[in-house]
Amino acid sequence: MASSEIMTVNMGPQHPSTHGVLRLVIELDGEIIQKITPHIGYLHRGVEKLSEHRTYHQTIPLTDRLDYLAPMSNNLGYVLAVEKLLGIEVPERAQTIRVIMAELTRLKSHLVWIACHALDIGAMTVFIYAFREREMIMSLYEKISGARMTSNYFRVGGLSADVYDGFEKDVREIVDTFPGHFDTYEGLLTKNTIWLNRTVGNGVISAEDAIDYGITGPALRGSGVDWDLRRDNPYSGYEKYQFKVPVGEKCDTFDRYKVRLVEMREAVNIIRQALDSLKPGPVLADAPQVTYPPKENVYNTIEGLIHHFKIASEGFPVPEGEVYQSVEAPKGELGFYIVSDGGTKPYRMRIRPPSFVNLGAIEKMAKGSMIADLVAVIGTLDIVLGEIDR
């Protein structure tokens, strides 16, 4: 018995299932969604504006705070863009460590996704398990960069420091134990009737529509589009690794769930290959005009001190020009478009956030379904408001 009365419901900005400060104004016919108007910007900090007033090094910590669940992916996109502008090569060891950290970041982000997505739909056990595993990556982050979330580890030209002793052992432990944990999640969810009822046929978006709405990353691959920047436009040495790019068929929440799970297994696979190919060597490019001098020079020589001071205070000039560099972040294509006027600060830095564009398709995906299914759609889009609002 359909009623013609439309009810407007406000969801968020403070709501446990909107994964941050997202506000949705929903028009309902009974329980059926007729219209969704997202309101964003509650977390807008003006990162793009701020970066115009900071040197290239000082902008790296700002990028940590975009997608705060995957800080190193943001760092990677940014430093790659600046390196492209400068035209400098990064040593192989630094590239390999970057790949290891970027893939660990993907695991970290996907673990939060599966935890919160499952919790939204009612599977609390997965939440507890996934956060337990995430803690291993968090402690590795802390050991390697000194911070659990805002890592600020990559530098233009390489890394802030080489890895600590025992890094390889810690990563091996993650690589060896995680596939078993993924089996546990799949055991809890993949054939679970409640999970299937909530995800199969939910949030369907066809491949054409998904491309039209600019959806990227696992959400696009869930709609059957075989496209991954790591394979198709490789950066940071990804062309050296063998990995599968999973694609879905039915374009629904369940397929996107399967795609992300395979992606986590493939991330472990890439880390294993990268670890095997890790050789000793420098972690900073031989580009003294850009990189910080070694600490022993700073402490012991006047030239080193001046060098350090100059780069820390004035920064380094970057040739005039503009580049766009994107990476396959856990949420999709994260792009940095940097315009330089030849100075020591970016003239304009544009961040192309995957979550922002993906969220634009929420009405398309949820219209006509029940309001309770909306939390599944938000979960499957895997949004992070820090990145949407910047």
């Binding site: 807008h44 504006k49 007033h53 600019g214 304009r348 398709a361 609002d389």
Partner: protein
Amino acid sequence: MAETNRAVIKLREKFAASVLDVKEFRGEVTVVVKREDIVEICKFLKTSLAYNLCTDVTAVDYLGKQDPRFMVVYNLYSIPNKDRLRLKAPVPEADSTIDTVSGVWNSANWLEREVYDLMGITFNNHPDLRRILMPDDWVGHPLRKDYPVQGPDREPYKGRLS
């Protein structure tokens, strides 16, 4: 390389009068076109050259550096061909408007809203041109170069040491 780019050749053939400049930097090809033809060019790029993903729409404010003041930038990607193209269209300050391409790619809808909100460029025929990140009643456009970084009516931050 820019001269042999498949899109550049076709655009020069078909829209000879609207291509203002072609540049290449670090292997990336940029085509500057007249803003009047932006929708036609985008339609052509999407249907004939398979640039099916509009990755990004943004704008740069060249206050005091270039005339016209604004440059609207489209970063396009072709999933079948795995290549990128950057399209730029100059927009003058006196009439800071350009036609919307949200009819060509739906992803441009929100991206253009953001450009409108932060840069103050109006997109003609846009289906839903409202502010997206700033509050609805906000005055000014924060990403413009003449907008102070600390916000309006506030003393500039002078640093910790001074």
